[in-house]
């Protein structure tokens, strides 16, 4: 690891210093239209500017222990007999400028079934002019190639660094090597890759996160998105204790030092309340470049650290 034998306070300062070396003194805050959002510091004005779409509705065959399709439920889906293109046309006509395309994954491929939609995606790009970002899951070479041909603006993939998490949480018969291979393929085809690491994914414990970070560090990804296990009611992890803020902070520091020139963002999925306030503060202290749906007071806090805030009404992984 990059941390060596420095104390925690030193590491935090070092991480922030790295940020100041390689990035301007600005921090980006994101509030996409996935949810209405309002604090004293940041209020959405155009919540329909950037919207999430699920290609599979609220269905997912994997039923991962931390999600069980809950994350898909608020997403927009094509109506019965409506194509993805016409859904996007409808959204575009009402002011939407970009979409994040996601959905449930197949246990056979480990990925979102995107191949049958690449033609529509190409039309969305060429005829509607929308920005299109895609959450892929595992990809094969054909998917990586066709998404590139379709003109997607960026791809997201959850990177898992432990075989037991892939097996026990995602219920997939794949390995860490398959996630590495997917990253390799996406990079091979010239995608703008924005991998995600879910901290505490394995029932609140850190198991494969540092391995995932190391895997990602082998590639020139566009940005790294860090999210945190959020126990959701009605899932197998509803009573799981999220990871401690101190562990999360350690990971923020390590990520910053390991990827000094890569934008690192704190994504929207993280436990609410006091935990979120502390994590958001840690994200600023450790030199992360942006935060989605920041807790109240974090904009002012980042100002106190000499960072000028920028506000975006799009997903962090799609706005950087």
């Amino acid at each position: 690891m990059a941390s060596g034998i420095l104390g925690q306070s030193d590491l935090k300062q070092q991480a922030f210093a790295v940020r100041r070396t390689y990035f301007p003194d600005e921090i980006d805050f994101y509030a996409p239209g996935l949810k209405r959002y309002s604090t004293e510091e940041f209020e959405q004005k155009r919540p329909r500017a950037f919207l999430p779409i699920s290609l599979t509705g609220s269905s997912c065959a994997l039923q991962c222990d931390h999600c069980e399709s809950k994350i898909l439920e608020p997403m927009i889906s094509p109506a019965k007999d409506e194509s993805l293109f016409y859904l996007c046309k409808r959204l575009s006509d009402s002011g939407t400028e970009g979409v994040l395309i996601s959905g449930g994954s197949s246990p056979i491929t480990g990925g979102v079934p995107l191949l049958k939609f690449t033609h529509d995606i190409a039309r969305i790009k060429s005829e509607l002019g929308l920005r299109v970002f895609v959450h892929t899951g595992l990809v094969c070479e054909k998917t990586a190639a066709e998404l590139k041909n379709a003109g997607v603006d960026g791809v997201m993939i959850d990177v898992i660094g432990a075989d037991e998490t892939i097996r026990d949480v995602y219920h997939l018969n794949f390995s860490v090597k398959d996630f590495d291979r997917s990253l390799e393929l996406l990079m091979k085809y010239g995608h703008s890759v924005r991998p995600h690491i879910i901290l505490g994914l394995h029932y609140g414990k850190f198991i494969g996160e540092y391995s995932a970070l190391e895997m990602i560090a082998q590639y020139s990804v566009h940005a790294l998105i860090l999210v945190i296990l959020t126990p959701l009611a009605g899932t197998a992890m509803q009573n799981t204790k999220p990871p401690e803020v101190s562990e999360i902070e350690n990971f923020f520091q390590e990520s910053r030092l390991r990827l000094p020139r890569t934008p690192i963002l704190l994504g929207c999925a993280r436990p609410p309340g006091k935990h979120k306030e502390a994590v958001d503060r840690a994200a600023v202290d450790c030199g992360l470049n942006g935060i989605a749906y920041p807790a109240e007071g974090i904009v002012a806090y980042s100002g106190s650290k000499g960072l000028k805030p920028n506000f975006h009404e799009k997903a962090c992984s799609c706005g950087c």
Binding site: K35, R36, Y37, S38, T39, R48, L51, K70, E73, P74, I76, T230, P231, L232, A233, C268, P271, P272, G273, K274, K276, Y293, E296
Partner: protein, 149 residues
């Protein structure tokens, strides 16, 4: 009770016209929950975090946060006081607030510290509440907060 566009309204409750909380005040104590219109606009509640018993708050202070299908943000107290009870059922099952907004879906109970002054900023009684609610439904519809996505 009366209804406005299929939303139940109780004229004996106090309603916060800004944050859409209802208050059932009994002496110096009040039970607080969210009205069904604002919950409809937020979608199903996914995570509810409530601050602990004993917290002293001024009107407008946050007493917790909610992540719902279509909303993320704080709960801002409609009145000043001390939290004396927290509904743990809602923390364990956030969708209870959607299912029973006036019943088991309450959020907190407070010991009120300035209610005589602060109640002037709240609405109660059929006529004022009906008028406000009709206006709010229209406003929410214009903002597409109630429209099918």
């Amino acid at each position: 009770m009366f209804t406005v566009h299929n939303y139940n309204i109780y004229p004996d409750l106090f309603y916060d016209p800004k944050e859409h909380f209802w208050l059932k005040a009994e002496g110096k104590r009040a039970r607080i929950g969210m009205d069904p219109l604002v919950q409809d606009s937020m979608g199903a509640f996914v995570v509810v975090q409530l601050d602990p018993v004993g917290k002293l708050m001024s009107k407008g202070d946050s007493f917790g946060t909610v992540e719902a299908e279509k909303y993320v943000g704080p709960f801002r107290s409609p009145v000043s006081g001390i939290i004396v009870a927290v509904n743990e059922q809602v923390v364990q099952n956030p969708r209870l607030t959607n299912a029973e907004p006036y019943g088991n879906g309450w959020l907190i109970e407070m010991e009120l510290t300035d209610f005589e002054k602060e109640k002037d900023g709240l609405l109660t009684g059929e006529e004022p509440v009906r008028k406000w609610f009709e206006h709010e439904i229209q406003r929410y519809q214009e903002k597409e907060w109630l429209a099918e996505s």
